[in-house]
């Protein structure tokens, strides 16, 4: 595969769900097309209910598109289930830690599933906890950790398997702004340092602009309504314009019915 090939490619991907009352289908993702290249950090922005998580679940291979083609590293994430072992790391909105496992054992989970040698898994999990500032908490159970610490553990768990792609679905939205800002910076640093590709879903404009090299704004139901690129050299003024543009696009979007 040539290095220019996109890591994630959606072509006219649609996903509809049966309505709970059985009266027809409900479209959550509507002919969505986009490409994400290696090493990119892409923020996906959209209102609640516009289909961001549905797109995310398709990339993660947890659900299958109703039509269209989704490819991750050139493969079908839903059909080629086993191919993606160890290739995708996920951080969910809630930490999803196993309450019966200590912080260290939660970080080790992915490595254990990948059959990594126990000694190595232990060492690697320990190091990831350290990188996320949780040394000394290895043996704590989730209930004894704060919300921010638990989300740090779940970030460590996603990075520990050394995946090519990191997927995050509003991972910091339930944390206070101070903690969220620290973790955002930490996350971007780790993604760059380890040369990962990342998709970061959010419903906050500031968060999207702080994290992404590229921001995709979703229409409701999900398809691209607006797209922009930015980096460290993007001027304050240009950022303000972008922010206003995004605001306008989002406010045109009707609220979910």
């Amino acid at each position: 595969m040539a290095s220019a090939d996109p890591v994630i490619r959606f072509r006219d991907v649609s996903k509809s769900f049966r309505r709970p009352d059985g009266r027809g289908d409900f479209v959550a993702v509507d002919k969505l097309s986009f490409e994400i290249g290696k090493g990119e950090i892409v923020a996906v922005l959209g209102k609640t209910g516009c289909g961001k998580s549905t797109m995310f679940n398709i990339v993660a291979g947890l659900i299958e598109p109703s039509s269209g083609e989704a490819r991750v590293i050139g493969h079908d994430p839903f059909r080629e289930f086993a191919f993606f072992r160890g290739k995708i790391g996920i951080v969910f909105q809630n930490d999803r830690l196993m309450p019966w496992r200590s912080a260290l054992d939660n970080v080790r989970l992915g490595l254990q599933i990948l059959d990594t040698d126990a000694g190595h898994a232990n060492e690697s999990a320990r190091q990831w906890l350290m990188r996320l500032g949780l040394s000394g908490h290895e043996n704590d159970y989730p209930h004894a950790l704060s919300g921010g610490m638990r989300q740090r553990v779940s970030i460590a768990r996603a990075f520990a398997v050394d995946p090519e792609i990191l997927l995050c679905d509003e991972p910091f939205s339930s944390l206070d702004e101070m903690t969220a800002r620290d973790l955002r910076a930490e996350f971007v640093r780790l993604v760059r340092l380890n040369n990962k590709t990342a998709v970061f879903i959010t419903h906050q404009i500031n968060e999207a602009m702080e994290i992404g090299d590229r921001v995709l704004v979703f229409h409701h139901p999900a398809r691209i309504a607006y797209e922009t690129r930015l980096d460290a050299s993007t001027s304050e003024e240009k950022r303000r314009t972008m922010h206003d543009d995004i605001m306008r696009v989002l406010s045109v979007e009707q609220a979910p019915t």
Binding site: A60, R96, W100, I113
Partner: protein, 256 residues
């Protein structure tokens, strides 16, 4: 914590002491063959425990309880697995189990005597049939309590079926299964003495029947206490296992 625990034990003991005192008073009022004095009951209970030939009957009954529960647990797990996989299977099996739940233990005794010959097989059959429905439903509940969030999180790592079972399913269902064992143990201990009426020539049920024929109230009490003590000991053991297996849980300092 320790204090409230000591308190609980003291209260439990106090309740039993009041009960024993009431009984003792009755033994002064009525003839001893109706209400034998408490010390006599205690000494008869201890006698059973330290006399090898009598203790064998207790162990035999304990074995029957465990055998029945183990059989119901295995069968119930299989049924729960089948029901959990398909709604159609549930629609077929669940009503049958509910129907079984309504059949009295004594009816199973009659069926077992008519259908089967071997005593132990009859007892096993009765024990399994009477505990199977509740066991199955409880195991099913344990399965269904599995968190969808944790399931998706684990699936994202692409585990094999066996790994998924080991890392997610077992830890999720263990609390429910321990509870199911505790509940069914109590039921099984009550059913086993009835089941032993199929012609068993040993066991607590057989001994109780003999005490009735001898009109020996102290003996009847002594044998009843064997079962009660047995259930208490096993339940405490399961509690200990539970406390160990669920040690990760947050303990609330405020009692409810």
């Amino acid at each position: 914590m320790t204090n409230s625990r000591t308190m609980r034990v003291l209260q439990a003991v106090a309740g039993m002491v009041v009960l024993a005192a009431g009984w003792q008073i009755l033994s002064y009022v009525f003839s001893h063959y109706l209400f034998p004095p408490v010390p006599e009951i205690i000494s008869r209970t201890i006698e059973v425990l330290i006399t090898g030939s009598l203790l064998v009957d207790v162990l035999l009954t304990a074995g029957r309880i465990f055998g029945g529960l183990f059989g119901a647990f295995i069968l119930g797990s299989i049924l729960a697995l089948v029901i959990g996989q398909s709604k159609t299977a549930e629609n077929f099996i669940a009503p049958v189990l509910t129907f079984f739940q309504g059949i009295p233990a004594l009816s199973w005794v009659v069926f077992a005597i008519i259908w089967f010959h071997g005593i132990e097989f009859r007892v096993l059959f009765i024990m399994v049939m009477t505990t199977l429905p509740a066991f199955t439903f409880q195991i099913l509940d344990a399965f269904r309590s599995m968190s969808k969030d944790l399931f998706e999180m684990t699936m994202a790592f692409r585990p094999s079926r066996w790994t998924l079972f080991r890392f997610l399913i077992v830890p999720t269902i263990v609390p429910g299964i321990l509870t199911a064992w505790k509940v069914n143990l109590g039921n099984a201990a009550r059913v086993v003495v009835v089941a032993e009426l199929v012609g068993a020539t040993g066991g607590v049920g057989y001994q109780l029947l003999r005490q009735q024929q001898l009109f020996d109230m102290a003996g009847a009490m002594a044998w009843t206490l064997q079962l009660v003590l047995f259930v208490l000991v096993v339940q405490q053991t399961i509690n200990a296992i539970e406390n160990w297996a669920l040690r990760y849980r947050a303990v609330s300092e405020r009692a409810m």
